[in-house]
Structures are given as C-alpha cells and as structure tokens.
Symmetry: C2
Subunit: 176 residues, 2 copies
C-alpha cells in the first residue's frame, strides 16, 4: 500500500489534490470528479488490497462470498489487478475492481469486474475497462477475452468486445 | 526433459516397456496402445518441451506460426502444460498438447489443444482433455473454461463443457 501511505502518512491534512505517486493514476472522468466535493478517482495496480474491503465491494453488488484465502491466492497469481478508488480529502474508498489471468504472452482473460452501485452509470466501469485493456496492451497481450453475464454483454460490446467471433464459443466445465 | 532422459539414456535398447518415471504417465487407451507395434502413449507435465517439435505439431494441424520467444514465455507462465507422446522403442514423438492459464484458485482457461492428425479419431483428444481436467481439479480449480472453434464445440460438449451457460457469453477484444 505504498501509494496510500505516501498520500496519507505525512499529515492528516494530506489531500488527493497532491500529485499521485507512481502506484496510483488519477483518472479524469467528466462528471465523476466533481471539484466541488474535493473527490478524485484513482486507479491502482497495487495488488495488496485489503481483502475485507474487496469483499465489501463484492457484497455491494450481491456476489456470493468466496473464501478470502482463495481470493488472496487468486490476486497473487493474477497477471493484472486493477483497483479503482475514490479519494475525498484523507478518506479513500474502494469503488471498483478487475483482474486478469494471462500467459504473459498471447492471451489474457478478465475476471471479477465490479463497480460499486453508488458509482455506476457515471462512466466509471467503462474507464476501469479501458484502463485494464490499456495495461494489457502495454504488455503486448493481443488476445483479451472475458466471459460476460447476459446483462453486461452490451456494455462490453460498446467497449469493442465481440461475442462468439467467427463462431468461437465460450464453454464452461463444472464439477459434477 | 528428465522423464525422457531416464527412459533413454541408459542404453539404446531401452524401451517404453520400462515403468514410467514420475514425470510421465502411461495412458491406456483401447486401440491406441497396440502391443504388437510396441508403442505406448504417455502424458507429461514437463514444460521443457522442444519448441521446434511443438511448432511441428502445430504446423501439422495448420495453425499460424507464432514467435518461439513468445511461445516459450507462454509456456513458462501457463499454470499447466500437458504434452502427449507416442513412445515406440527408443523413439518418441510429440503427438498432443494442451495448456491452461489460471489464477491458481478459482478459474482456469484451456488453450492450444492439439492432437497430431495421424493420431486423431482414436480417443486421444478425449484422453488428453480428461487428463488436463483431472490435473486442474487436483489443484482445486472449480471453473474450467475454454474458447472452442465451431468445429470442436461438439467434441468439448461430449466432455461435459457447456456453451454459454446461463447466457454467459465468451467475448474477445482485438487491437484495431
């Protein structure tokens, strides 16, 4: 949590208006960073996220709880972990998350994309995905995939994701 | 290549009828292991595969060539690499391959499943997939996914893979 330490450790009056250190990246989203309430949205690639805070975010969108031990392991072994934070004065809140598995060469698959309900319909999900795609492209990953629930297929399509391209089908195997 | 070394290094008369060391696993497939020609089919999890031999296998099924540097990186960063070998006397041939990316906790995605055309329609693709699934299940991965070309959707369906379960769509993003 180097990013947050450097933002908040010096004094209680530290605010997000300081330049963001390397680990965090300020996002300017029209309407989402209202100057009047002194809030800012940041992205971070730091995977040392408080698992209880992440669980709270996932609870907020109604996801089934998962063992934190396994969540921790999954974070460690993801190729990319992106978190989205709202910073207001000295307060920070985890408001979005996405991660990707990858072979570090050809393919990446994006999992666990979530935006807190209070922050939806402001373009933040789109910004989170664009940031995630940009980071994967920076690593020269050419084939970015995901499995979309029916109600978010259109959301991903607007971002340029194609369903079943050339008839390729996403398939799942579950234990009996 | 410890497995093959131990099979072949002692003398020219070493044969596959020796017990397989840990790295290789003998597969008994009806009709695929004819005793009369002294051939056996083995699976291996050793990821130190000759990349030229792998390229030859992929050439045989008409896949576009990929930079070996990236193939090597992808192998290193795959969660699981399964290779399938025919051993006849002192000769071995790579006849099948599959690999999976994973977060080591929840999800695995299987890529690059290939069986040499001379060895297809003998149940070896099915055996390769069952072995791959078994190894992923042994690691407590519950969500096994893949993206299937149209002509192999039925093959995977027979193995228990479900297309678009509950309307979940596989989606791809490609660079412009």
């Amino acid at each position: 949590m180097v990013f947050w330490k450097s933002l908040f450790s010096s004094s209680d009056t530290a605010t997000a208006s300081k330049p963001a250190p390397v680990q965090g990246e300020l996002v300017d989203i029209p309407g989402a960073n209202p100057a009047q309430n002194n809030s800012r949205i940041f992205f971070s690639l730091d995977r040392d996220i408080d698992l209880y805070e992440l669980e709270e975010l996932c609870d907020a969108v109604g996801w089934a709880r998962r063992p934190l031990r396994k969540v921790k392991k999954a974070m460690q072994h993801s190729f990319l972990v992106v978190s989205m934070w709202q910073v207001r004065g000295a307060r920070k809140q985890l408001i979005g998350f996405a991660r990707a598995t990858s072979d570090h060469a050809f393919n990446a698959t994006i999992w666990d994309v979530v935006v807190h309900p209070d922050f939806q319909t402001q373009g933040l999900g789109k910004a989170l995905m664009k940031y995630t795609i940009k980071k994967l492209r920076n690593e020269d990953i050419s084939n970015i995939t995901l499995f979309a629930d029916p109600h978010v297929v259109d959301f991903y399509a607007r971002l340029g994701f194609i369903s079943d391209p050339e008839g390729i089908k996403g398939m799942f195997w579950y234990p009996n």
